[in-house]
């Protein structure tokens, strides 16, 4: 699925009113092209998670404009009505912990979304297997999440995020629980998938090991995103 990636203009988010109001985002501008992986960094309390929640259509911004793929999802007072369908069809999520469904095997964890969307089970599983093969974890297709290593679980979580071919993937600290080697492997996979499926990927991270791999980085300080040029080192 190709599209226009992520386009954010003047995004603001305020919690509370009056003297106690907290301005978590103070007019964030951001652009991520299809096929691009950008880093989102910043200290705790800078507004990273708030930005991710706004992009993930989990909370409403106070003002601004957001476009995911080729569809505006928030424009000041207007927002998309069916947020569940938006999250299902337009956004892929990869979390700090994989959060796989413990009672489904690897294939069904990945195939769950298309199945819930009404695609026949056999077709959904074929789609999942295709992705598991792309991520080189097809040999664990029938395993339960508890039988996988941390790296394998994270690869399954990436496959789940990609299964509906969303134009956008939001990755929240995807390498936090992994060692250097596995962390680099996950970043390589995200880059490969971004190129292969024309997906715009934002990776929120504190991980010093992977920050040098981004070509572009958004650094959030006090609710404002500053664009920086990354080192764009090649993966080892």
């Amino acid at each position: 699925m190709s599209g226009k990636g992520i386009h954010i203009e003047g995004l603001k988010k305020r919690y509370g009113e009056g003297d106690t109001a907290v301005h978590a985002l103070r007019g964030v501008d951001m652009q991520v092209a299809p096929g691009e992986v950008v880093g989102l960094i910043g200290p705790s309390g800078s507004g990273k998670s708030t930005l991710l929640k706004c992009l993930g259509a989990v909370i409403d911004p106070t003002s601004g404009r957001m476009v995911l793929g080729d569809e505006a999802i928030f424009d000041n007072d207007w927002k998309v009505h069916d947020l569940q369908a938006l999250r299902r069809d337009k956004i892929g999520f990869v979390f700090q912990a994989p959060y796989l469904i413990p009672f489904l095997d690897v294939t069904d964890n990945v195939a769950l979304l298309p199945m819930l969307a009404g695609i026949p089970n056999s077709k959904a599983r074929a789609k999942a297997l295709e992705l598991l093969t792309a991520l080189d974890i097809q040999h664990r297709a029938r395993a339960m999440p508890s039988q996988l290593s941390g790296g394998e679980q994270q690869r399954v979580a990436i496959a789940r995020g990609l299964v509906n071919r969303p134009p956008v993937i939001l990755a929240d600290e995807p390498t936090a629980p992994l060692d250097s080697e596995r962390a680099m492997a996950v970043i390589r996979i995200l880059n490969d998938m971004a190129r292969q499926f024309e997906t715009a990927i934002i990776v929120v991270t504190h991980d010093e090991k992977i920050i040098p791999t981004f070509e572009r980085i958004y650094h959030i300080r006090d609710g404002v995103a500053h664009e920086e040029v990354g080192e764009g080192r090649r993966f080892e």
């Binding site: 991710l52 989990v58 299902r88 979390f95 700090q96 959060y99 819930l116």
Partner: protein, 400 residues
């Protein structure tokens, strides 16, 4: 469409089965309570069936012989035989007492019956062993649940009786076995005083100037004799000629003989509404309490199970799973728990019912109704967990 509930149950089947077994034992108790109520009703109906009577003639202004005491002269049955529509009329007495056999006592309803021709109402209609009472004294037919053996000698008051026949399902409305003895013996057992009481009564009569008049020397002997015999029965059972309607036959008896007459329908309603009503309401209340307890337990279990899946539910919601899919998963698990519980409950109730001391009747229709009640309770109980699941913020899946 994938069944999330089914997969979760298969994945953690041990937890579900053990929880279902616990719930099943509670459902088993509930089904047994319903069976106890049905057993009480059946005991009452069987007691009426076993009399073989179409009409119960009792003392005026009483609801005897089961709900109230009733006393009639024992020669009334002769007049009743001449009433229109009456084929048979037979005296009967009922006395709840302890019958001794060996070293033990058995609580029983002793029934005094007329030893007449076959078809006489009051006697057990079918025997499983032995024969009917043929002699006027000291023979008994007992229900098999009394534990008496054929040929055994049992003691009622001061007299011994030989068990000559055994019947089955001849019980009183409260489930006690019936012991049938000849009417004369029963009348004596019902009103017989001990020797000391007789001596005391004769002394009082002798001291009473009304009974001991110098001018009438035989009066005292007559009074004493009349007080040592019993010419009363509790009811007269009437069997009607084929084609006679109970109400048509009852009306002339009420009007001309100034007696109370009950038809089978009326007697059944007296037993249900007056005799076993309180017990029935007690059991009904118990059923309601057990249902509430079951619902609370299911609600707690499902709530706890859901609480353990909060993170998964947040992830499911974040990746776009519809609320109704999540609600469906929780409700299906609750219903599955109910089905497991019902199956376990039905099986355990079936196995433990025979060891109950009183008759417990598990009716298939009650089981069907119980099954749907369990499903309804489980569906209702899952609402608390569903409400909690729907309130889960998908943002919980994202850190920060």
């Amino acid at each position: 469409m994938i069944s999330l509930a089914g997969r979760d149950i298969l994945h953690s089947w041990g937890k579900f089965v053990f929880t279902g077994v616990g719930l099943g034992l509670l459902i088993g108790v509930t089904l047994s309570m319903a069976g106890i109520y049905r057993g009480m009703v059946d005991d009452a109906q069987v007691m009426l069936d076993n009399t073989g009577a179409d009409l119960w003639v009792v003392q005026q202004d009483t609801q005897g012989p089961y709900a109230e005491s009733s006393s009639l002269y024992d020669d009334l049955y002769r007049s009743l035989l001449n009433m229109p529509g009456v084929e048979y009329a037979a005296n009967v007495t009922y006395l709840i007492m302890q019958v001794s056999h060996g070293e033990q006592d058995v609580s029983a309803m002793v029934v005094g019956v007329a030893t007449g021709t076959p078809g006489t109402p009051g006697q057990p209609q079918y025997l499983v062993a032995g024969r009917h009472i043929t002699r006027s004294h000291y023979e008994a037919v007992a229900d098999i649940s009394s534990g008496f053996q054929l040929g055994e000698r049992i003691r009622i008051r001061r007299n011994f009786y030989t068990v000559v026949g055994l019947s089955k399902r001849t019980v009183s409305y409260n489930g006690d076995p019936m012991v049938f003895i000849p009417l004369k013996d029963a009348q004596e057992a019902q009103f017989l005083k001990d020797n000391d009481a007789l001596v005391q009564q004769r002394r009082r009569n002798a001291e009473n100037p009304d009974f001991n008049r110098p001018g009438i020397p035989d009066l005292l002997a007559v009074v004493n004799a009349s007080q040592s015999t019993n010419a009363y029965v509790n009811a007269v059972l009437v069997k009607l000629k084929p084609g006679s309607l109970p109400e048509d036959a009852a009306e002339p008896i009420r009007r001309w003989m100034r007696l109370q007459v009950y038809t089978r329908t009326q007697m059944e309603s007296i037993l249900m509404d007056k005799v076993i009503d309180k017990s029935a309401r007690q059991i009904a209340l118990f059923l309601v309490i057990l249902s509430i307890v079951s619902a609370a337990i299911v609600a707690f279990i499902i709530y706890t199970l859901t609480l353990g899946k909060i993170r998964e539910i947040a992830v499911l919601k974040l990746i776009g799973t519809k609320n109704r899919t999540i609600a469906g998963m929780i409700m299906q698990q609750s219903l599955a728990l109910g089905v497991i519980g019902f199956v376990v409950g039905k099986i355990t109730a079936t196995f433990w019912v025979p060891i109950f001391p009183k008759y417990v009747l598990l009716m298939p229709l009650d089981s069907v109704a119980g099954f749907f009640a369990v499903l309804a309770i489980c569906a209702l109980a899952s609402l608390v967990a569903i409400r909690m699941a729907l309130k889960v913020d998908p943002a919980e899946a994202i850190g920060g």
